[in-house]
Amino acid sequence: MTDAIKKVIELRAPIDRVWRAISDSTEFSQWFQADFESPFVAGSRSYATMNSQSCGRVRWFIEVVAVEAPNRLVFRWQPSADDPTLDYSSEPMTTVEFTLRPTDTGTEVTIVESGFDALVDPARRAAAFAGNTKGWAFQADNLVRYFDEN
């Protein structure tokens, strides 16, 4: 499986501290800006309500796939399900995987969100087009380059 969106960040905190911040649903709620109603348990759903002002107060859930201390948390969810007026029940789910790795100065956190479709490569290519304002010709150029490289 190819990743769709990948983020790597290094934090100046020990791995146990970072693990607590992502695996404890109460702590996760604090930084993620969502109020989770139950702990993260593999194989179960945890419902949450966004608590930042910019988001509608829609209730949504994650399906927890794996909680493996001290370095791996995996869940599935429906990305951008943040408009209370829309029905997201038929939306496809993506998979979010947190991986923690200790470093000399702290902890490296990698987040991969995958499954925007089975068609992740085109999704990545589309992402590479983002910000492009030069129009169609430029996008076509990118596509050609993609074919040449693959």
Partner: protein, 110 residues
């Protein structure tokens, strides 16, 4: 009210892009000048029927549009759908950047 785009809206775009022949056809389309099926078929290993089928798939995904010219159907590129799909992924990517910055503050400020 403008509602936030959702994944389902872009499934068709991602699906349409997942095929090499459709990618090749997409490259041959122009946003302002329509092309005939014969022109677009070019050296692709496809029957005329196959080319038409793929062009219709691109059209359904919003990546192309067709225009009648007499008895002939011609096709144009519709770049907006691709840009919107890209923008959608960019937004999700940006949300992760913000969430990770809050995670940093959460674990480093204690």
């Amino acid at each position: 009210m403008k509602t936030e785009a959702t994944t389902a809206q872009f499934i068709d775009v991602f699906a349409a892009l997942a095929d090499a022949n459709r990618q090749a056809l997409l490259l041959k389309l122009d946003a302002s000048q329509s092309r005939s099926i014969t022109e677009l078929a070019g050296d692709l290993p496809l029957t005329r029927q196959g080319v038409t089928k793929h062009l219709r798939a691109l059209e359904r995904a919003g990546l192309a549009r067709s225009a009648r010219s007499g008895r002939e159907t011609r096709f144009l590129a519709e770049p907006g759908a691709l840009r919107e799909a890209a923008g959608y992924l960019e937004r999700i990517s940006g949300q992760w950047d913000q969430a990770l910055e809050r995670l940093r503050q959460h674990v480093e400020d204690q």
